[in-house]
Every structure is written in C-alpha cells, then in structure tokens.
Symmetry: D4
Subunit: 254 residues, 8 copies
C-alpha cells in the first residue's frame, strides 16, 4: 500500500489510478481472508447445508456432488418427489462410501462419510403432532452438529397433563438447552420456560388457520412472552434452532 | 298498501308515484317498530352507555343530561381531565337525587338513580397490574347489568403460582362466567380455560411493546387458543366483555 | 421435601444436588395432578377432537384407534379424499359397535359408541350458502356436547328480509345462545345482536375476496361491533363456537 | 416538428440534438394544454382546496392570498390553533369583500366572494357523534360545489331505531345521492344501501380502538359489503365524498 | 300490543311472558315489512346475483332453478369447469324460453327471459389486458341493469398515448359515469379523473406481483388519489362497480 | 379555441355546448401529442415488453405479432408450458427473419430482428442460487437495452468469503452500475454498497419462508439500509432493475 | 380423593357435589406446588423485575416496597420523570441499607442489598448510538444475573471498519454469548454471527423510520438471517436478551 | 498462520489454542483492512452524516466535535428545538473557521470548512408543498456531494398542468438524474418517468392520511410502477435519494 501511495506522491500514477489500485488491493486482502475462512464450517461442527426450495434438480445434484467432498452435506426442505428425482444421481457418492439418508418427515437429505462425536445433550419438545416435521429438522441438524437429542413430541399445552412427566424425564438427563416447537397460539415455550431454568429456544410453526395462518401469532406470542429465558428463531426454522442449540453446547465446550 | 296499488291500477297515480309512496310507507312501518323497541335497553338490564373518545365536552354533557332521564347512564373512556371539565355541569342531576361516580382507573363515569338487583356471579382475572384498567371497566358495567363480580387481579402467567389459589376461590363461589384480561402474549385465558369448565371471555389488552404493541398478539393468541370454551372481544374492550358476561347470566335467568 | 432440605443442612448432599432433587420433586407433583385431570374431558361433555390438517393418514388412524377407547372422538378438517383413504382402517371400530359418521360438508368424522343426552337449545344462523360448512362443524360438535341445535342457514344481511322470520322462530324455541356465522363484511352478528337479548357468538369465515380475503374483515368487524352481547371465535372456527356455546349451557346447568 | 426532422435529414443537426429538440417541443405542447386547462376548476364548480396538514402557517397564508383571486378557496384539516395563528393575515381579503368562515367541527376555512347556486339535493348520514367532524367536511364542500345538503347525524346502527325515520325524511326530499359516514365496524352504509335505491357513498372514519383503530375495519367492511350500490372513499375523507357526490349531481345536470 | 300490556296489568300474564310476547310481536312486524320488500330487486333493475365461489355444483343449480322464476339471474365468479359441470341441468330453463349465456372472460352465467331497456350510457376503461376479466364482469351487470356500455380496454397509464383518444370518444357519447379498472400501481383512475368531470368509479384489480400482489397497492392508491371525483369498490369487484354505476343512472332517471 | 369562445359570446352556441367543445378540443391536442410520442420506446433503447401473467395464450400471441413489427419484443414471466403452447404460432416471425429465444430460467421470450449496440458495462450479483431466475431477467433486458453485463451468481452473504473476489473482478472491468439480487434477510446490497462507490440497485426476491415469505423482509431491509448509494425496485422485479441500470448508462451517454 | 369417591359411591354426596370437590382438590394441589416454587427466582439468579409502563406511581412504589424484601428488584422502562416522582418514597429502603441506582440511559431502577457473584462473561455490541439504551438494559440485567459484561457500542455495519477490532477484543476475553443490538435493516447480528462461533442473541430496536419504523424490519431480517447460530428476542427487549444470555451461562455452570 | 499450524503439528500448542489463535489472526487482518478503509468517505465525496433522532443532545455534540475534524459533517432529522439546545456548543468550531448552517425546513445542520466542487446536475421535483421538507434534505446532501441541483417544488399530479413546464426547463439544463418526491398516491414518479429518459429516483413521503398514512401507499405505488426507469428509496429518505443521485454522477465521472 505504501508503494502505491509513494507512486502517487511522485506523480507516477494519477490520483484516480491510485484510488482504483487501493480499492483492488483491499478487496484482495479480504479475499485472502476468505480463503483462510473456508475451514470454518468444519471447525464449528455444523455441516454445510443447502435449502432445496427454489432450486432445480440439476442445481441440487451439482451442489451435493461438489460439497460432499468436504465429508458431509445436508439438503433441507427437500420434498419427497424431488428426492425421488435426484437419488439415482447420488450412487457415485454411495460407491465412495458415503451414507445417504433421506428423512421424509423432516424433509432432509443427509450425505456423510463419518459419524459425529456427541458433546452434550439437548431436548426437543413439540406441542402437537403437526409440529413434528419441524422438530425432526431440528433434531437431525443438532445431532449432526454434535448434540445428543432427547425428544418429547405431541405434549401440547391444551392437554397440559402430558407435558409435566416429559419435562421431568428430560431434565433428569442433564440437558443444557430445550428447543420447544409450537404452532397455534405458541404458548408452550412460555409454559416450559416457567418450569425450567435452562435456555429455551422457541420455534413457531405455520400450523394453524384463520389469524394463526402462517405462524405469525405463534412467533409474536413467543417474542412477547412474559417468561424469562426464551429466544426465538424464524417460523418453521427447525434447522436454525438446531444450529443455535449446538452453538450453545459448542460455546460451553470451549 | 292495497289502497296505493288500487290507485295505481285505476291510473290515479303514476307507477313512479306509487313506487315512492310504497317506499315511504315501508320506512314508516319500520319507524313504528323503532318506537316499540325503545324499551329494549331497560328490559335487558344493560345501561345506556356512551363512548367519550372523539366527543367534545359539550356533546358529552348534553347526552348525559338527556339520557339520564331514563335512570342510568355510563360514560366510558372518559379521561380524568375531561371528567374534571364536565363535572360541575352535572350538579343538576345530583340535585335530582342521582348518584354520580367517577372511577379513575376504569375511566368510567356512572350516573344513576337506583341500584341494580344482582342475578348471579361472574369472575374477572387479570394477568398483570397494567391490565387492571380494562378489568375495572368490565367490572363496573357487569355490576350495573346485574352481576355480582369476584376479581383476582395481577395473577399473570409468568408467575403461574399466583394463579391457582385465585381460581380455586373463584370457582368455590359458583361463578358462571370468567372474564380473563391479558396483554403481552395473551396466554392467560388459554391456561385458565384448561383448568375450568365454565365459559371464558378473553379480553386482550394493548399492554406490550415491540411485536405486542397494540394488543394484536394477545388478541390473535386468544383466538388461536387450543383450549376449549373461549370466546374473545375487541382489544381493551372491558365494556363489551362485561356486557357479554351479563348477557349470559341474563339468558340463564329466563 | 423436608427430607431433602435436612440432608442439605447436614451436608449429606450438595446444594446443586438438592436443587435438582427439589425441581424433580415438584414436576412429579404436577404429574400426579395431571393423572387426576384425565377425567376432565368426559365430565365436561366435550368429545376429544383432533385437527386433521397437517397430519399423515397413519397418524390420524393411530390416534383414532387409541382415543376411541374413551367412547367418542371427532376428527375435524378432514377432507373427503383423506377420509376415503382411512375409512377401511376403521372397520375394527365398527365391529366393536362404534357408529362411524363422516359429514362431507362439515368435513368431520365422528366415531362414537353412545348418544349424548341433550341439555338445552342453541341456534345457528349463517349469512350465506358458503358459510354452511363452518356452521355444520359448529352444529355437530355442539350436538355431541349435549346441545339441541336449531339452524337457519343462508339468511344473509343483504337480503335482510329473510332474517326476521328465522330469528322469530328460533327465539320462540327458548334457545339460550346464538351462533352467527358470516363472511364478507361480517355484519350479521351485529344485526342479530341488536334484535335479541341472548349471547351471540360470532364466527367469521374466510369467504370473501379482495380486502375480505382470509376473513379478517369479518373478524375485525365483529370485534368492533357496536351492538352489545357479542363475543367472537377464530376465523372458520365452527368447532370453537360449538364448544363455547355448549360450555355456556353446561355452566347454566350446574 | 417536420422542420426538426428535415434538419436532421439534411445533417444540419445531430441525431442527439434532434432528439432533444423533439422532446422539448413535446413538453411545450403539453404546457400549452395545461394553460387551457386552468379554467377547469371554475367550470366543474368544485372550489380550489388545500390540505393544511404538513404545511407551515406562512405557506398556508401565501397560498390563500394567491388562490383567493379566483374567487373561492377552502383550507381543509386546519386545526383551530393554526386558524387562530393565521386569521389576522386574512384581513386584506375581508377588506376586498371576501367572506371568511372557519368551521371548528369540520376544521375547514372557507374564503369566498360569492354564493354558489344549488343544483340538487344530497343527504349525509353519520353513525355516531364522533363521525360528525368528517360529515361536516363533506357537507361544506358539497354545498360549495352546488349541492343542497340534508343531514341526519348520530343515527348509528346499534340503535337501529333512530335510523328509519331519518331515511324516510331524506328520501321524501328527492335526494339523489347519500353520503354515509361510519367508524367502528362500518356497517351503516350496508344497512342504508339495503333500504334505498340511490347511490351510497361510504366514508369510513378512524373512530374506533383495538382492531378498529385507524379506520381500516370500517373501510374494509364497506368495500366488502354485500349490499348493492355502494362505493367508498378514503378513511376520514369527507372532502372526497362531498366532491364525488357533487360530481354525480354535475353529471346528471348536463 | 296494547292487549298484551293490559293483560300484564290485569295480572293475566307474567312479566316474563309479556316480554316474550312483545319481542315475538316486534319480529312479526319486521317480517311483514320483509314481505313487502321482496319486490325491491325487480324495481331497482339490478338482477338477482349469486357468487359461485365456495358453493357446490348442487347448490348453484338449485339456486338458479329457484330464482330464475323471477325472470333473471346472474351467477358470478363461475369458473369454466364449474359451468361445464352444471350446464346440462339448465336445459329445463332453456325449454321454458330462457336465454342462457356464459361469458368465459367475465366468468358470468346469465339466465334470463327478457331483455332490459337501456336508460343511459356509462363507459368502462381498463389499464391493461389482464384487467379485462374484471371489466367484463362490470359490463355485463351494468348492461343487465339498464346501462348502455362503451368500453376502451388496455389503455394503461405507462402508454399514456393510448388513453387520450379513447377518453375523447367516450366523452363525445355523453356517458354519465366512467368505471376505470386498473391493477399494478392503480394510477389510471387518478389520471382519468383529472381529465373528465363526471364521476369515476375505480376498480382495483389483483393483477401485480411483489408489493402489488393482491391488489392492495392499487386499492390504496385510488383511495388516496389527489384527483377529485373518484370513489372505489373492492378489489376485482367488477360486479359492484357495474351495480354502482347503474344506481347512479337510476337515481338520475327518477 | 378563440373561435369557440367567440361563438359563445355571440350567443351562437350555449355555454354547455361551448364547454363540451372545449373539453373535446383539449383531448384532441393531447391525442396529437400521443402520436408524436409513439417513437419514444425506440429512442430510449428499451424494448417493448409485455407481462405474460394473467393473459391468455391468444392475447399473448396477438400482441407479439403486432408489436414485433417494431423490431423487438420481450415477453416476461412466461412460464415454460405457456411458451410451449404458443411457440408454433411464432413461425411466421421466424420466417421473416426474426430470432426467437426463450430463456427458461428467466422465463423470458425474446423476439428480435437486430442486435443492439453495447454502450457500457453493468454488473449483476445474486446472493443465492434461487435468486438467479430474477437476475437472468435483469441481465436479458439490460443486454437488450444496450448494456454489457458481467454476472456473479450465488455469492451470498452467509458465505461472505465468496463475495470479495467477485466484486474485485467486476470492479476491475469498469462497470458503472451494480444490480444486487437477494432474498432472505436482503443484506447483500448493503454489504456490497459498503465496499463500492458506484450505484447499487437492490432487487429483493420472494425467496424465503416464515417472516421472509413474499420478499417483504428483503425489500424493507434494503430500503432501510444504512449504507449509502442504494435504491430499490419491486420484489422479483429483475426487469425493472435491468431497465433502470440501462437508463443510467443512457443518461451518462448523452 | 379416594374419600370423595367413596362418599359418592355410598350416595352420601351427589355426583355434582363430588365433581366440585374433586375440582377444588386438584386446584389445591396446584396451589401447594406454587408455594414450593416461590423460591425459584432466587435460585436461578435473575432478579424479580417489573415493567413500569402502564403502571401508576402508587402501584410501582407499592410493588417495590413489597418485593424488595426478597433482596433485589429491578424496575424497567421507568422514564426519568416517573423516577423523580417516586424516588422520595424509597428512602425507607435506603435506610435499611439498600442500594438504589437509577440508570437514565437504560431507564432501569435497581434496588438491592447485596452484590451478585459473577459466573462468566458475555459481550454486548450495538450498531449505533441510538441502540445504546436497549443495550444498557441488557447489560444491567445480565450483570445482576451474574454475568461479567463486555460492551462495544456504536460499531454499526455501514462503517464495518469499526466492527472488527471490537469483535477481536471481545473474543480474546473468552465470552460465551454475544448480544447484538441493531435497528434499521438489522444486519449486524448476521454479520457478527458469520465471524464468530458462539451463540448470538439478536435484539432488534425500534430505531428507524419509514419501512423500518417500529423495528419490524430489523426483527424480520434477524429471524430470516442466513448466518448460523442466531436467535432473537422481542423488539427493544434488552431485558429479555440479558436474561437469556444469563440463562445460558447458568446452564453451562451446572 | 503457517507458524501456528506448525506449532500445532509439533504439539507445542493444543488444537483449541490453535483454533483461537487463527480466529484472532483473521480478525486482525480484517482490522488492518478497516484502517485502510477509513479514507473512503472522503474519496467518495459524500459527507459523514449522523441521524439525530434517538440521540441525546450530549451525544450529538460529542459526535459533531469529533467528526468535524475531517472537514465536514451533516446532522439530519435535527428538530429545531434540539438545534437551539446544542448550537452554543458549536462556537468552538465557528472559531476554527467552520461554517455552521441549520436548514429548518430540511432539519439539517451542516458544519463544514470548505466548499465542494460541482460535478454535474440533478433535478428534484415534489408533488406538494408538504413534501418540500424531504426534498430539501435531498438537495442539501446532493449539493454537498458535488451535484448542482435544480428544483421544482409543488408541481403535483392533481394539477398536472403545473408539471410540464417545470420538466421542460429542467431537461433543457442537461440534468442527469431526477429525484421525484411524492406522498399520497405516489403517482408523480410514474408520470415523470413516462415523460423523460433519464433515471428517476422516487422518494415516497409520509404525507397522507387514512390508507396513505405513513407513506406505504406511495412507496408501494412507486415500486409497482408500470413506467420504466424508476428505483425507490425509503419513505421520507431525502438523504438516501441525494446520496444515490450523487453516486450516479460520481460513477459517470470516473
């Protein structure tokens, strides 16, 4: 950089030229930084993931084959018919020893060549049967990111009596974070946070109708919760909840 | 009516004239009906009420003086400074033996010359201190409409431990309807409805901030409730909740 | 509990251990409470119900077979093609003497082994033909919860002339609650509440287009109603309206 | 234009120059059109009007003095304190023989040097006392635009019994258009339109609270109305309703 | 009524009985009014119409057959496949001499046994090709309600040059009302209203994407228009616009 | 015009007649203006374009055949199955020497008989694979409007390391405008605008779910950006972004 | 419970009576549970807090005096003028040795009689100067809940160059959680989460205008973030973020 | 970096330590980049600016004094009373030769010690008087960023006749960009863009009421515009529009 500025002072280059060179140089430094950073995903333990919605079959296949070289890849929001359409193109990975798992409920395709070591426990609770799809997305990504996951599905707030025994069992297992998935009025995370003293990650789901359609009521109710110790991720974002829980375990582990 | 049609047939009046006469006649019949109906407010036991917001002091005074002849009137949403401005104009009613009560918390002015006989019991529960204003509005109108009212304020869901003993006491008193007032995430009516088997009327309040500002989160959460036996009134509508509860007692009473 | 605290004082357990034991103990007490509470649904007279949307065929069948043991179950929002897919799996219940009824209009599957005794009358009114589906949902659940139901469908506000005779007939029958179902501008409940003095439960429907799409205009108009004695349930929530009306009859009956 | 093109062909001007000349020429033609059009306001009979909100006192005074030369000007949404601040600056107009009227309720300042000839009748109905401000705005502008105006204020839908006699009186007067002003659930225009067979112009007002705050419920209910013969203007837009009604009379008159 | 009250005074009936009798009597009067009113639709000239969306084929057929007795019926929002499904059931009407017309673009089925006399002219303008469907709905209902209709489709604002000659032609024909249909930014009605001095009825359409999806931008822009003489109907509500325009002609005609 | 006014003064025509003549005359002048203006599209270099959504196949074909006479036409938002349905009708244009290109990803059909001269360079960057469809729409229209386009797709903000090298390459090429396409949280344009000092045109896309569904989060985040030098077009409006960028180059070029 | 059931069987009490007794008994058990639970707040280390908005001065004073007995209380959202009004009433606490601190920026009043032991470190970063108020609220509650807090205020994204050195410093200190406070487009949490591998708690603020007014753009952008490891609390909810961060440290500590 | 990795391989440091060192090192590199970048604001010619809303007087003064060292600073959204409160603290800058200008209409405080060289022309047009405040903000920032600015205020679309001559004058001056400021229905930018072939930057304003309140109608109408060559900035964001226009001139100039 000094070089450029000296050339400028000596009049060997025009101010405009100098400015352009400096700009280019700065970007180059950032680029170097970027190269170093490519190791980040591996270090943090969260597998590379792609979001299938809005992508063509061809694009998805190309990305899987390319990223799988790093050892692991998750494809989220992959509807069953799309999976059926692309699965035969993944034989080449199977031949290389990759394990290829599609979870219909979670709509996740997982391609990996090694198992992950578990570093701690988290719990996942859902209010209703219809929220399980989102919860399963959270479970799979959290497991791949090194969490042992305890689940208690369909323990909704209306039938509060199903809730207590599940929470008791989960807490006895020394879980460090609870992911609570709920649609409708989204009250479950508040109730749970009132009973435990570990972090609760609320995941609103788009299950519901009328004023609850799209999940905004559940989202806003969780954000507005009077109970302490709750934070929230996007509607239906099981993936984000799983990653966030794993990041907490990660941070504890350091 | 036959008369008009016969004149039409005889050609004594034009079709246009006939049409106009018929129209006028129909409206006249409706008008007669209206006259009969003026007794309705007294029969149902709900006092005549006016909403003070958006009205000049002059208009409010004029309406009070006029309607008070019927024996009772409530002025709702009357801010304290407005009450101070108009109260001297009500001496004439005091002189006639009217009782004049202003409730600062509920922002209600009550003018009446007789007490109401109680016909049954209802309960009112609020989640927090800030919801009391709306609850008091409900209490006063319900009492004026013939309900004995039991209240349990500030028993919010975050501190769920304050809730149970209050509900127990209220239920032992044989209340027929519960009004539950809550802002923030609006979860209290759902929780209460899960514990009792009498009708719960949810009143969302505009207490809250961020996504809860204006009370829509509380409203939508109550509408979306998984618990059975809940219906809802408008945000901050203590008046409507009180009237609705009284109407239920009314209907039972017949 | 005293035991734990004494052990703590004597130093036999660490404070952390004591805290964990106490927490577990509390949850256990709640669990006991939950067990007692399982009788609630039977006592209140409202049949167990599941919401079919967002659930797989397998899940629905499993839940029906399990809950039917209690004598009765309703499956709501069950589209016809879904019913066709699961009905053969219900033969086992038919063999046990269960009655299996699917109402296409209301999209409700009802499985039961006994009839319910009626405790009183409610009325259901709809504004238009398109609202009947929601009204039928309300009718079936109210009947199963012990109400005798009088209906007057398609008496919308635009043709106000169809409304009056129906209301007259319904009121002569000594109904205690009116459910009024309306989409579009949602004005019918206000008009009805202006004519009767029994509680009116408004059910907004998603029938409409443009600004009325989704039912929010109807919902907000009902909540904002100037007429006394109205409370509201979620958009298209015939189920909730039926349960709420039944809860009022229930409460009267005690 | 041909001239320019010929110069272009002869190479006397560059294509860029020609393009620029043509563009300028077109705008000039439009400008000529604009000059002709300045007579429009006078011909249509609607007085020039300015909207006071968001304008400084100085700006308002300057505009009034300038436009008053045309004989008439209305200043709408002029709060009382603003009027007090500017009124002394209008003496010069009073001295010229202008009549200067400020209507506090309608928040309109009217400056004019001649009266308008009436061309027909319209009616204005409001649901409640709080809607009168908007109705008065409509009345004044309609009168200035040549309408004789019959009013019936505070005949709201909840007390439907006050409505019928007013409509009867108005219809007997041969009014051609009805402006119906309503806040809250906005049902009055629908009810009125179901009773008359002349055009109904709905004006939603921002009177209301909770879900009705801002007037959107009233607006959407009117737009969604099942009754025939209704069109709507913006929330609180008394001015627009008055102009629209006058335009209908205008159009009839030709 | 006097009879009931005298019986009450004499103690022959209880107050409760009296109250019930009075209520029933009032409703009966309203019912009588309703009977008189059934002639209204014929007098105003607007054909009975039903909205097909949300109705079963069976329901639509039943309603057509029933209402057609009055001479005319329109079925709006009837998709082509639905029309194909029901048309064979209408042979019975064809045999009685009814004319049966289905307009695919407007999605309207018209069944009638007589032509309507025209009472005046209106114009319909659309911004783009995609708005024609809504415009045709307006045209057909307006024609059936007695309007002669001039149309100028696809004269959108972006290509403002197509607009002027059409408006000139329409105005020369002495039209009394203009319906202007526009989606996207909804600017056309404002521009047109700035050029003419007859009433402009704006019809926003749901044509658009992104922020314009659903038609709210067009609706709000029309409501917010600075140009005088505009009122608006619901999004895509060609039917309402046609009826409103016909009502204006109607009112002129009296 | 003088002629008309003189006739009026001499009493040869009535004031009404004069008014009508004047109005017609003004419109005629505007019409003349419109005729001149038809050359505009050619001059500005932006091809005539039609939006296929909401149009029938027949309408699209008719418009293409008609406008193609001007040398070039783009059909945007043309889904593949629609293209398949109409393509055989375009043979007549192919026979005339037109080039007919359909870009599946951009959903654009381009019909033209000449190539456009390039006037400068712009860059297009997308955050993710799913945004490419919108970016391609921008690219094609920008190329047809005379821009040389450099693209860098899928350089999203989460993987910020892919961004820097692409920006460096693009800036070295002396591009004058950057179009940045992004869905989800829409942060990419802000980040890019913080690194470059040329205009950034943000294009929010509807890629996303939960709170991001429909693209409003991306749109609002871009509008709200703290970084200088950003302006925004409608959600998914690649077409508008391409035209805007071309207009900047155009303006520079003059 | 057995007792009650036996009485029922022996016919000593009616089924209705039995039902009521059972209900009361269940509530009593819950009440016992509640008593145990009152120790919870102390154990978890989060001080009792009350939200001042919507509460009268009297109510606030009463609550402070009552709760302060537990050793510590925070009053949040307490505007300076309100603090001035109540502070003299707190002398009695000062006399008892309580420390009374009012933080004007954070609008928090803290009353306590002991210091808290720190258990670990968290960091708080704000985008702009205007966000500091919310950040300070988070800092104070986190400190009171046992966190050592490192802050880096005003390191917004537009001037990204201020960000990096601060993050470096914070990470070197072994912080376990980062709270990132941002208004406007809310991009800072995403950028930070892309650079660190510890949990990031996003706090959107209502700083902003136009589309950003109220903080919804910031909230939705954070929820929609592509970067991993983010969860979000309500708009302006510094309190909730502080509690959530402390809960994570708490959970690590067990 | 190699050093760290070698130490790791030799076992001199643990993997955890290495990871931490690498992370720190990367951030350090970014920090170096940031230092280089501090010259950016000066180079691009856009003055440092701070947004006054939400900041204390003290904070504003401190920032001004600190940043003014760079030669120039703008304080935007600074209400007059705030300016009055801080102006005496700026004497020290005046003494150093800084020019201190406060523009009441634009609510901008400008502090600078040198004039900027102009590089080209832009135009600014407003629809109404009430939009001038936003336009002036745009003008001042654009001038400070090196633009010569031509303005034409109050040429709104309703009185379209004022528009044409202003556009003609502005275009004759060879402006390169037009900023068009408009509230209400936001139609002006579309109309202008249909008449010119240079880039149009739309600035929606919050002027309006009812559906137009807050400026969303204007914003969405501009985004949805059918006319080519428009991009938009945030509501009331005169600052952003000025910077964007200057960035275009900047980019042309290179």
């Amino acid at each position: 950089m000094r070089e450029i500025l000296q050339k400028l002072i000596k009049g060997e280059i025009s101010p405009k030229k100098a400015e352009k060179l400096l700009k280019t140089m700065q970007i180059a430094e950032l680029e170097d930084f970027a190269k170093i950073d490519t190791g980040r995903d591996v270090r943090t333990g969260i597998p590379e993931a792609i979001f299938a919605e809005g992508k063509d079959d061809d694009e998805i296949i190309k990305i899987i084959l390319k990223i799988a070289d790093k050892g692991r890849i998750m494809v989220t929001r992959l509807r069953e018919e799309k999976y059926e359409a692309i699965k035969e193109h993944l034989h080449v990975l199977a031949d290389k020893g990759f394990k290829i798992d599609y979870n219909r409920k979670a709509r996740i395709l997982l391609v990996k060549d090694h198992e992950v070591e578990k570093r701690g426990k988290i719990g996942i609770i859902t209010a209703g049967t219809s929220d399980i799809s989102v919860a399963e997305e959270a479970r799979i990504v959290a497991e791949e990111a090194g969490c042992e996951v305890l689940t208690a599905y369909d323990v909704g707030v209306a039938g509060i009596h199903r809730l207590f025994s599940h929470i008791k069992k989960i807490l006895q297992e020394d879980v460090k974070v609870l992911i609570v998935v709920a649609g409708m009025e989204g009250a479950l995370p508040s109730v749970v946070a009132g009973l435990v003293d570990i972090p609760v990650v609320g995941v609103p789901t788009s299950v519901g109708y009328g004023v609850g359609e799209g999940g905004f009521t559940a989202l806003f109710a969780m954000l507005q919760s009077c109970a302490p110790g709750i934070a929230v991720v996007n509607i239906d974002n099981g993936f984000g909840a799983g990653v966030f829980a794993a990041t907490i375990l990660n941070s504890m582990d350091k």
